[in-house]
């Protein structure tokens, strides 16, 4: 301790300075846009459109009210929620069993399977969206909540698989074996031992899937016409809608995502280690 302090105080000081400024830069980078967004969302339409801008919001809700009363917004919001919920259910419904299988069983092609799961993220969405749109038209899934949720599930599923995989891997199989010897079937052991231990992490990965769907815009814009989600609706109305509407809409999109991510941050940070005890 003492020699590091005496060896090179100037170097240490410089290092600290770099460290602190790095942190400040990162904070500004992420927080400033959010702050400006909130300021504008909470200002009157006149203030938003006027020029000398204030850094202090006037806490006026007229922009937000205007946004909520805007034709189609509530409908889009409702669509967003429905798509995100279906995405969440599908991702966990398929992702958690896959994660469990990956962590508990040895089967031929396991490594390949794991690789393929990650690989799905290698296809850019625009590449997928157009053929999908055509296919959906054929099977009648176009412009539907389920159709879009299916696409969002392909985006969220790899994360669901990998998060639950690490989650289950953190729960010793021996606990399940103990349950077997105490009279459980495989399914009972899962329900009584693994699920309670994994539940918080599974909830976190469900929320993560929700947020992925909530924020997704490209597929939503391509695959829906009448039943637009909020992101697609805002993008569509980008050209002609007034500035304060955009800000209020952006705030409505960012806020739930922020809150959710904040709520599950522990699990996203601890994604590769068991986080509950």
């Amino acid at each position: 301790m003492s020699d590091t302090a005496t060896v090179a105080p100037s170097v240490r000081k410089a290092g600290r300075w770099v460290f602190v400024s790095g942190i400040v830069l990162l904070c500004v980078w992420t927080l400033l846009p959010i702050y400006l967004l909130m300021v504008n969302a909470l200002s009157t339409p006149e203030e938003v459109n006027g020029f000398p801008k204030s850094f202090i919001p006037s806490f006026d809700l007229s922009s937000l009210r205007f946004f909520l009363e805007f034709e189609g917004v509530l409908n889009a919001l409702w669509n967003s929620i429905r798509v995100a919920v279906v995405t969440m259910i599908l991702s966990i419904g398929f992702g958690a069993p896959a994660g469990y299988a990956l962590s508990r069983f040895d089967f031929p092609g396991k490594e390949v399977f794991r690789f393929l799961v990650v690989m799905t993220r290698a296809f850019p969405l625009p590449l997928l969206a157009l053929p999908l749109a055509v296919m959906f038209l054929r099977v009648g899934l176009d412009d539907s909540v389920l159709g879009l949720a299916l696409v969002h599930t392909t985006l969220a599923l790899p994360f669901a698989v990998l998060i639950t995989y690490s989650l289950f891997s953190g729960i010793p199989f021996e606990l399940e074996e103990a349950a077997f010897t105490l009279g459980c079937t495989r399914f009972q052991a899962f329900r009584k031992v693994v699920l309670p231990l994994a539940a918080p992490g599974i909830a976190a990965s469900a929320v993560f899937a929700f947020v992925i769907s909530w924020n997704e815009v490209f597929a939503a814009a391509v695959l829906t016409i009448k039943n637009r989600t909020l992101t697609a609706f805002l993008m569509q109305s980008l050209d002609w809608s007034p500035l304060h509407l955009k800000f209020a809409g952006a705030a409505a999109l960012v806020l739930p995502a922020l809150i959710f991510i904040f709520a599950v941050r522990k699990y996203l940070f601890a994604m590769w280690g068991i986080a509950n005890r």
């Binding site: 010793p172 021996e174 103990a178 077997f180 010897t181 009279g183 459980c184 031992v193 005890r277």
Partner: protein
């Protein structure tokens, strides 16, 4: 009735063979102790009996029923895991009650059994805690209590007391033996502790490298080891070995003395336990030069050189001996054993 029969059970993990065709019968209500060096396959054998591992070959029978295709819950067993496997999301009480709840046992009976087992293991005051709030030894006792509460026909215990202090272990040991005898349970008990093995076992099975080398009552295993491995593994300090040179029919030369031995043509080693030696007049018995003297209270352990080999003897603690002294050690003739140099098997 829960007799366990293991017939030709073998287990391979890929190219590695953990068990080579094990045959073993544990009679109803018997307390069988499995003893063997780390990695010799004790846990693997237990897991196969429990149904947590599928044997590569062979059959497992419990109580006259072939069980090797049955899931663990249908085998009438309970198991104490080497790493405890206490459920972290349940209190100690609920851990012990887990198996009983699976059987849908009435609450009053659950209460009664949990309290009885907790009392037995001295963990009554911990019933409300979670496993994260327990020490290793306490967790281990929860694991034992959880298995006992099941009142199974067969209990499989994988080093269940390894993490307790000497005093507590002594106490738990006798409690376990008492309660299992009373409940007429057939038990298989894995341990590294020879004293524990000796004191608990109706029968000891010594394993080495995936084989059962000897299966006999404790005194027999101690007195008449079936193989050199057993002789060296059991007993503290272990048996002494000296090379023997055949000089005639049934006559051998060992460390410069003439000894009568078995009449065989194979090359054999002479073996004697350290406590089966007495001090003799110079010129009689084995000539030894003391290297180390370790007073142990009741006895004194001396490590000597006999004919260039290291050799231990337990002598009376009143004998005043010092390193460098020369001794004559006379073996008790009926305690001498002989082992084949190549196969390591006992030769009569």
């Amino acid at each position: 009735m829960a007799e366990i029969q293991i017939k030709g059970v073998a287990k391979s993990f890929g190219a590695f063979t953990a068990l080579h065709s094990v045959d073993m019968t544990i009679s109803d209500r018997e307390f069988m102790v499995l003893l063997g060096a780390s990695g010799c396959g004790k846990t693997t054998l237990l897991r196969i009996i429990a149904g947590l591992e599928t044997p590569t070959k062979g059959e497992v029978w419990i109580g006259g029923r072939r069980v090797d295709h049955l899931p663990p819950k249908e085998r009438g067993i309970a198991m104490v895991f080497q790493n405890y496997a206490v459920f972290p999301h349940l209190t100690v009480f609920e851990n012990i009650a887990f198996g009983l709840r699976m059987q849908k046992m009435p609450q009053a009976e659950v209460q009664r059994r949990v309290h009885r087992c907790a009392e037995l293991m001295h963990i009554e005051q911990l019933l409300k805690r979670y496993s994260g709030q327990l020490s290793g030894g306490q967790r281990q006792r929860v694991a034992v209590a959880r298995a006992l509460a099941m009142e199974p026909e067969v209990i499989l215990m994988d080093e269940p007391l390894s993490n307790l202090d000497a005093l507590l272990r002594l106490e738990m040991r006798s409690e376990l033996k008492g309660v299992l005898a009373e409940s007429k349970t057939t038990a298989i008990y894995v341990t590294h502790d020879q004293v524990e093995a000796m004191s608990l076992a109706d029968r000891i099975s010594v394993m080495n490298g995936g084989h059962i080398v000897q299966s006999a009552d404790p005194v027999e295993v101690y007195r008449n080891p079936a193989a050199r491995f057993v002789a060296g593994f059991i007993g503290n300090p272990p048996m002494n070995f000296l090379p023997a040179e055949k000089v005639g029919s049934g006559r051998y030369r060992v460390a410069g003395t003439d000894v009568a031995g078995p009449d065989t043509d194979t090359r054999i080693d002479y073996a004697i336990r350290p406590e089966d030696l007495t001090l003799a007049e110079p010129g009689q018995g084995l000539a030894a030069t003391i290297r180390v003297v370790e007073p142990l209270g009741a006895h004194t352990l001396v490590t000597c050189d006999v004919d260039g080999a290291s050799f231990r003897a337990v002598i009376d603690s009143d004998s005043r001996v010092n390193p460098g002294d020369r001794l004559s050690l006379a073996p008790m003739a009926d305690r001498v054993r002989w082992f084949d140099k190549e196969t390591g098997l006992s030769v009569q």
